[in-house]
């Protein structure tokens, strides 16, 4: 690097004086700029192809039946995915109930209380946690429940535990960011009025950060709602509706799509259609969560002056 700086330092002014850039430098500049722009377009191609293909292949499988019936006893390409949609909502919902309180309280700890070794350890291990492969989270949930319920156990709540492990670090990170930008003068004003710390946090800090916290949680949930691998080893595969996360196997959209692809049966195309329809439904849920998160933020954010 130093040599190039030097060569530029020596040559550029003289060239400038001579009335402009050398041809070679100009061409290199144009070529590299074009390459960078081209690489960006190339990187974006899969996104457009993916959205286009999922829409094109997903729509044929969408029908009233897809949303209203389950797949119990269905033959010849019949049967819907209502049990999988319901399962996705329940499993993700329970995961949200588990992870949001822990995640937000941990973020409060990091930002408002934390000091010393515990704070450093938590910061470090939250980073570690973001890197846990999703299948390992599933194996953990299985190993945990196997000890209490015996081998081969499959429950909806096991999936929620696995997803919680994946989503807690995301919730902490985003909540920490949001709490950080609540200005200190708000806290100081509250203390000056004699308000205890816990009331300052619950009545001043959290309401100020509310929109950001909700947005962060929604985006975090969007990241796990389509998880497949951890659910494959924890919630199992089932054809019928199950709304009890503590009893028996529970289907979900991602595993449903995988299963329709992997064991299509005789009516191959009908099964593939359903796999794509499930994929489209998942993308729709993810996008709705992301857009809604942004709308919430825009509508309810606190103007801080």
């Amino acid at each position: 690097m130093e040599s190039s700086v030097q060569s530029l330092g020596q040559s550029a002014p003289s060239r400038l004086l001579a009335g402009g850039l050398g041809t070679r430098r100009r061409i290199v500049n144009i070529v590299m700029t074009a390459l960078i722009a081209g690489a960006f377009v190339l990187a974006m191609l899969p996104l457009f192809s993916l959205v286009f293909e999922v829409a094109k292949r997903g729509i044929p499988g969408l029908s009233a039946d897809f949303f209203t019936t389950d797949a119990r006893g269905a033959v010849g390409g019949a049967g819907g995915a209502s049990h999988a949609i319901m399962g996705t909502l329940i499993i993700t919902g329970v995961a949200t109930v588990i992870s949001v309180p822990i995640g937000i309280m941990a973020a409060i700890y990091l930002n408002e209380y934390g000091a010393g070794r515990l704070r450093r350890a938590l910061t470090f291990f939250v980073d570690v946690m973001t890197g846990i492969p999703s299948i390992v989270a599933g194996l953990f949930a299985y190993a945990l429940f196997e000890i209490f319920f015996g081998p081969g156990i499959r429950l909806g709540v096991m999936g929620s535990v696995a997803l919680s492990l994946l989503v807690i670090p995301i919730v902490i990170r985003s909540a920490e960011e949001v709490l950080k930008i609540v200005p200190d003068h708000l806290r100081e004003a509250s203390y000056a009025l004699g308000t205890p710390k816990w009331k300052t946090i619950t009545k001043i800090v959290l309401p100020t950060a509310f929109a950001g916290l909700v947005t962060g949680v929604m985006i975090a949930i969007a990241r796990i709602v389509g998880e497949t691998a951890p659910l494959l080893v924890t919630t199992g595969v089932v054809d019928s509706m199950n709304t009890d996360p503590f009893n028996g196997r529970m289907q979900n959209l991602a595993v449903y799509a995988y299963n329709e692809y992997r064991s299509p049966g005789v009516m191959k195309q009908a099964a593939y259609d359903k796999a794509w329809a499930a994929a489209l439904t998942l993308i729709a849920i993810v996008m709705i969560l992301n857009v809604a998160a942004r709308l919430v933020y825009r509508r309810y954010k606190t103007e801080i002056r």
């Binding site: 993916l50 999922v54 939250v126 299948i135 953990f140 945990l144 497949t228 991602a254 995988y258």
Partner: protein
């Protein structure tokens, strides 16, 4: 930070001075926060402990009791090879593209478009992995078949393209490409953040000396962001190592240990092997799969900690 500490102390003093009930509220609330922090550490310790306790029987079992009749090491080694090969291939493809995309957003595209373009790249991270898998096998795979035939014909002398080229597209190359798309937003986000923070004086200094846009990028932006790019690449690698569904769906596995990227016979990866075998396994086979999960956990942990270490060292400077 210092100002935060003093206000905290002042608040505590005031709170302490004003009656027992308030102090009780403070105690309960702060203990709840500490409890949440400790719970998370316990959870993580739990992951290691439960995986160890459930994986341990497979580590000590005789070869004849384990799947494929191999000792655990012989069982996990080809899987670990496949895992590292797929992830390395993905990182090799994704990193240059991600860096270029980050450069485009921060230094080439018009500044008012930067936010939207960044959002587009981030959208890639929002798409569930199962959908990448379906896209890989139904869309990208078939499109890659002629490309792989061409690679075999023209570059077959390189061991990577030895062939025979797959006719289905279920190859390591396609799996690596899909993984590359999946990790691109991670690498790009880290690079983007670093590139955007290139000190103005450096850039403007280069421009004042008459540097072109590319020369400015090469001499100020890239050197400034180099360690971020490396740590971003390692974070991406960590993600690719543990990625399950895309590989499970795309790769046709044979257990072969080979660098051949375009043939039908591929090594499996640890994660894909778990997803494929776990639902139908029982007994010691489950323990063996959990033990492979532990190996995967260790590999990704080391990779991610390396990345964090680079980031931390850089922030210290």
């Amino acid at each position: 930070m210092a100002s935060v500490d003093t206000t905290t102390n002042a608040g505590q003093l005031l709170a302490a001075a004003s009656g027992g009930r308030r102090r009780l509220g403070d105690r309960v609330f702060s203990r709840t926060a500490v409890l949440a922090a400790v719970t998370i550490l316990a959870l993580l310790a739990g992951v290691a402990i439960f995986l160890l306790s459930e994986g341990y029987p497979a580590l000590t079992a005789a070869a004849s009791e384990l799947p494929e009749g191999k000792t655990f090491l012989d069982y996990v080694a080809p899987l670990a090879f496949g895992t590292v090969l797929a992830a390395a291939l993905a990182a090799l493809i994704a990193v240059p593209l991600a860096v270029a995309a980050a450069l485009f957003i921060t230094h080439v595209a018009p500044p008012r478009m930067a936010l939207t373009l960044g959002y587009l790249v981030d959208l890639l991270a929002a798409i569930p992995s199962i959908i990448y898998g379906l896209w890989g096998i139904f869309v990208l795979g078939p499109k890659m078949v002629p490309v792989m035939k061409w690679l075999e014909a023209k570059l077959g002398f390189i061991p990577f393209f030895d062939g025979p080229a797959s006719v289905t597209g279920r190859t390591m190359l396609v799996a690596g490409l899909v993984l590359a798309v999946m990790i691109l937003p991670i690498v790009s986000a880290v690079a983007r953040e670093a590139f955007a923070q290139t000190p103005r004086r450096l850039r403007e200094g280069a421009q004042a000396l008459g540097a072109t846009r590319w020369e400015t990028i090469r001499m100020t932006v890239l050197p400034f962001g180099r360690s971020s790019v490396i740590s971003g690449a390692m974070l991406g690698l960590g993600r690719a190592l543990g990625e399950t569904m895309a590989v499970t769906i795309i790769l046709s596995v044979s257990g072969a240990v080979t660098f051949n990227l375009i043939s039908q016979a591929n090594p499996s990866t640890i994660a894909a092997n778990i997803a494929l075998d776990f639902p139908e396994s029982s007994g010691l086979a489950i323990n063996a799969l959990i033990a492979t999960g532990l190996v995967l956990f260790a590999i990704t942990l080391i990779t991610n900690m390396g990345a964090r270490w680079i980031i931390a060292r850089q922030e210290g400077e």
